[in-house]
């Protein structure tokens, strides 16, 4: 299993300098990837803008959206943004897509949230088509386009993933929850007779030695879920031991690539996390 780290694009206090500093240091550290989240109605940095900036100051780490809310976006524009980022980063983009959990994000863009699952399924197929046809350039560096992941927990979501993506991206939770989702991803993949195997990506939140600050951010970020926000906050990994147990749990559950997302913006977190991961 590879372990990556998130960029502080949704956490309080991150500015342009801080995000770039974070990206640079992560790229020099032991991290396999840099991940970003997507949220419209929030004080967060737009994911493609953030990853483009990160691409400019890094050479090694994969750049991954965990996830971008596909149906919020025009598919052709999304294809062009992703192809551009893939080109700018030398083929380092992994594009994770899902439908998101907030309808206010849809309202803010004047997009009807109804049927968004179905639209995401169509988008997966259309993105491939656009990248392969090449009319809407540029030509991605990765042959056939960036690696595509799809998320979600419904049966439809797993079928959609197996139908049109290269793998599954989980939305977070304890290793047991990931294992359950991974089993469904495998079942869907085999059911649709896809050759090979699905890539399995997981994520978790951390703030080493700074649990309270991270907790406040998570309760705010997930406030729309009501009491669930406290549960997400309770899952914030705040000790080295918690991170190690979590990483081991994900590895045992068959995760290929785990991205640990920061809940505070202090770049010192990278060193602490690197120490823990050894």
């Amino acid at each position: 299993m590879e372990v990556g780290v998130g960029l502080p694009t949704t956490t309080p206090g991150a500015d342009g300098t801080g995000i770039l500093e974070w990206a640079r240091r992560a790229d020099q550290g032991p991290f396999a990837s840099l991940g970003v989240l997507d949220r419209m109605v929030y004080r967060s940095v737009e994911p493609f803008a953030a990853l483009s900036a990160a691409a400019a100051v890094t050479t090694r780490a994969r750049l991954v959206t965990m996830v971008v809310i596909g149906p919020l976006r025009n598919t052709a524009l999304l294809a062009k943004q992703a192809a551009s980022l893939d080109l700018l980063s030398g083929g380092r983009l992994t594009l994770g897509l899902a439908i998101g959990a907030r309808t206010d994000d849809y309202r803010a863009l004047g997009v009807d949230p109804g049927g968004r699952g179905r639209r995401l399924g169509e988008q997966l197929a259309e993105l491939r088509e656009l990248w392969e046809k090449g009319e809407v350039g540029p030509e991605p560096v990765q042959p056939g386009g960036p690696t595509l992941l799809a998320g979600g927990l419904s049966g439809e979501a797993f079928a959609r993933m197996a139908r049109g993506a290269d793998g599954y991206v989980h939305g977070g939770g304890p290793p047991r929850a990931f294992a359950g989702a991974a089993a469904r991803a495998w079942a869907a993949w085999r059911d649709l007779e896809r050759p090979g195997r699905p890539q399995l990506w997981g994520q978790g939140y951390f703030a080493l030695g700074d649990a309270d600050a991270g907790g406040a951010y998570l309760r705010d970020y997930y406030a729309f879920t009501g009491p669930f926000a406290s549960k997400v906050a309770a899952g914030n990994l705040s000790s080295g031991r918690a991170v190690k147990d979590f990483v081991r749990g994900y590895e045992d559950a068959g995760c290929d690539h785990l991205v640990l997302l920061p809940t505070v913006s202090d770049p010192a977190q990278l060193d602490r996390l690197a120490d823990v991961l050894g």
Binding site: R128, E156, A162, P195, A234
Partner: protein
């Protein structure tokens, strides 16, 4: 803290006791609407695991509880005139009334205030409390008042049950199944002290009405049940305590707390009584909440979150198992005619919590009996586990009950099987499969899924299959060649980057039952006319002949996956108004015509199987009873075994990819239609395979290992 506890059942009392013990400064009042000695229900059951938690939480009450326990380790299944006993299960039970006495006594000892016969219709009485614990049962007032925040749902089960006591002394958890002219009745009975037992009678709503029990009062219901179960009661009486026929309600809540109010036990969640876990879960909740409050002494919200994070996953697992268990009893008529030992095995493994391995651990003798009878060698001391019991199909005997799919890589050229594909087949055989299922083999060039789909439409394509059949036989395996026509799912790109992506140049014209494209991007297929259908029928027969001549051991006919034949079966894909559409009989007509042609071309002594979609996983699709009828029809036309699949009739579905998701469907087809089946759907371990086989839910298992040489 000032703590108010609403409800003086086991959960409320136990929580009050633990909280007071943890901090004697807490001021705790339990408010109960009934009198101290009023109680409903008879005995309650605990597992060993729960007892451990109770011992650690409060030793004095643990000693008192276990002193009066009835303990036993056997389960008796009375079915078909025979009693099958299995051991090693270890249960404990106690009279609910006695449990309450003990807990009330302990509460008084430690200084909890108990207020009986006080009805709380709102939470105003608790306005001065720092913490309100709502343990007020399945009809919780607190849950109703806070519904907006807790988001409760209530599912009412269809079966009817009535909760009696009996002076019948039992030494086992006892299930009794009795078939009557009105339908099946079943008893769930267990002892809870030396001379009293809980005795629950359950039946489907239809049976209940047919027997006139919807019109029966308490005395009539007692008389009816006493009469029906006279042989088991053996002169003993059923005891009533306001016993009425009711339907079980499964309660679920999104959240178990709001503000300073938190739910415990049945108020927050219920799980169907057939897995007997209500009191156990409630008391474990009390322990968990008490501990969470100790961990977060100054922060209720953090404690509640901690409590929910610990308990909700456990409760969800029990609710899932309880749902499977309840469904099992609703469908129990399906197993009429089962061997009593296999019936018992099916019953014991119904909720997925116990498998073949666990049964073997609990009672090796019973498991050996199961294995011997499964292998058809009851007289032998040594018998293989079900996975290794050979399966006879016409003149063929499969060495074991595991099938592996060789998978598709779309690597054939002009329909000729690639060397790599033959290698995948051989690898699956070398891995130990009793039978290896091939990817789709097209009966015609326009029946291919992708340009790389192998075919059997020309004589020169048969060679690699003959070699594969020989090689698999040399491994002690057999080749099941899946013959089909992709229909409207044809002419797509190789599936490495996704499925149902049309070829860029359009590929070849598609054929289907009706002219409906598979996805919005797919080409519109031609609705097959009489000439097309005659041609396709001939192509299937020719393919079968080539497979026979190549020495292929098993032929499978693909009536699934939304391909041509599967499309005819489903009302979602077949909108024809001729004799090949409409009713199930019409929709089956063409697939059966093909099956007849294939059966005629395929040697009598070799098995013919079908892959059948039993649910479309989409609204308006094939109904379960239609799937059963279709399976029966296929068997009547010479099909020897059905591989049960689901979905893919249409591109957008609502699939269930849960644990062993096809096993329940296989059970339905096998036991409602009386046709041997192969089940897949995420079976990954030998124990799962042994369990499915031993219980009679399938005859053959498609193992889905994460990695093996062929995958």
């Amino acid at each position: 803290m000032r703590i108010g506890v609403l409800g003086g059942g086991p959960a409320g009392l136990y929580f009050a006791l633990l909280a007071k013990r943890a901090d004697p400064a807490h001021e705790i009042t339990v408010v109960e609407r009934n009198a101290p000695d009023a109680t409903f229900g008879w005995g309650v059951v605990f597992s060993e695991e729960t007892l451990g938690a109770l011992r650690d939480a409060d030793y004095p009450s643990y000693v008192e509880i276990t002193d009066t326990f009835a303990r036993w380790s056997a389960i008796d299944v009375v079915y078909g005139g025979r009693t099958v006993r299995s051991g090693g299960h270890v249960f404990s039970a106690i009279a609910r009334r006695r449990l309450l006495e003990i807990l009330q006594g302990r509460c008084r000892e430690v200084g909890v205030e108990l207020a009986f016969q006080r009805e709380a219709t709102d939470l105003d009485a608790f306005a001065d409390r720092d913490l309100v614990v709502a343990a007020d049962g399945v009809n919780s007032t607190a849950r109703r008042l806070l519904a907006r925040h807790l988001r409760p749902t209530q599912d009412v089960h269809r079966s009817k049950f009535i909760w009696f006591g009996s002076d019948l002394p039992l030494d086992a958890f006892t299930f009794v199944f009795r078939t009557t002219e009105h339908g099946m009745f079943q008893v769930h009975a267990y002892p809870f002290d030396a001379d009293t037992s809980t005795f629950i009678v359950e039946c489907t709503e239809g049976t209940w009405r047919a027997a006139g029990l919807d019109q029966a009062g308490e005395p009539e219901s007692i008389a009816f049940c006493q009469d029906l179960f006279a042989p088991e009661l053996d002169g003993h009486k059923l005891l009533s305590n306001r016993s009425l026929w009711i339907s079980f309600v499964t309660v679920r809540c999104r959240s178990w707390h709001h503000g300073n109010v938190v739910l415990l036990g049945d108020a927050a969640h219920t799980a169907h009584f057939t897995i007997g876990s209500g009191t156990k879960l409630a008391m474990e909740d009390a322990v968990a909440l008490g501990q969470a409050l100790q961990r977060h002494p100054a922060a209720l919200e953090a404690a509640f979150t901690d409590y929910e994070l610990e308990r909700q996953p456990v409760v969800e697992r029990f609710q899932e198992a309880a749902r499977d268990s309840a469904t099992w009893f609703e469908n129990v008529r399906r197993y009429d005619g089962f061997d009593p030992v296999q019936f018992a095995c099916n019953l014991l493994t119904r909720s997925g919590r116990i498998g073949h391995l666990e049964l073997t651990r609990r009672d090796p003798g019973f498991a050996a009996t199961v294995d011997r009878r499964f292998a058809g060698r009851p007289e032998r001391l040594v018998a293989p586990p079900p996975l290794f019991a050979p399966l006879g199909q016409r003149a063929l005997t499969l060495a074991n009950r595991v099938a592996l799919a060789a998978g598709a890589a779309d690597d054939a050229s002009d329909g000729r099987l690639a060397g790599a594909a033959a290698g995948r087949l051989a690898a699956a055989a070398a891995a130990g499969a009793g039978v290896v299922v091939s990817e789709l083999v097209a009966v015609a060039p326009d029946g291919r899924v992708t340009p790389g789909t192998p075919g059997l439409w020309a004589d020169d394509q048969a060679g690699p299959w003959a070699e594969a059949a020989r090689e698999l036989a040399a491994h002690g395996s057999a080749l099941a060649l899946r013959l089909g026509h992709a229909g409207r799912r044809g002419a797509t790109r190789p599936r490495r980057t996704g499925v149902d992506r049309p070829l860029p140049d359009g590929g070849w014209p598609l054929l289907a039952a009706s002219a409906i494209p598979y996805t919005p991007a797919s080409a519109v297929p031609k609705a097959a006319d009489a000439g097309d259908l005659e041609r396709v029928t001939g192509q299937f027969a020719a393919g079968a002949r080539r497979a026979a001549d190549a020495g292929v051991q098993v032929l499978m006919c693909d009536l699934a996956h939304g391909y041509l034949l599967g499309g005819f079966l489903s009302p979602l894909a077949n909108r024809r108004d001729d004799e090949l559409g409409g009713s199930l009989e019409g929709r089956l007509r063409f697939p059966l015509r093909v099956l007849d042609a294939v059966r005629a071309a395929w040697p009598d002594d070799r098995p013919l199987w079908a892959v059948l979609t039993v649910t479309d996983w989409a609204p308006g699709g094939l109904a379960p009873e239609e799937a059963v009828a279709a399976a029966r029809a296929l068997a009547a036309h010479g099909c020897d075994l059905i591989q049960v699949t689901a979905g893919q009739t249409t591109a957008v579905t609502r699939p269930d990819y849960g644990r062993l998701h096809l096993v329940g469907w296989s059970d339905m087809v096998r036991n409602d239609a009386g046709v041997p089946t192969m089940a897949g759907g995420g079976l990954t371990t030998a124990d799962e395979v042994n369990t499915v086989l031993a219980a009679g839910r399938a005859d053959l298992c498609l193992l889905d290992p994460r990695t093996y040489a062929g995958a």
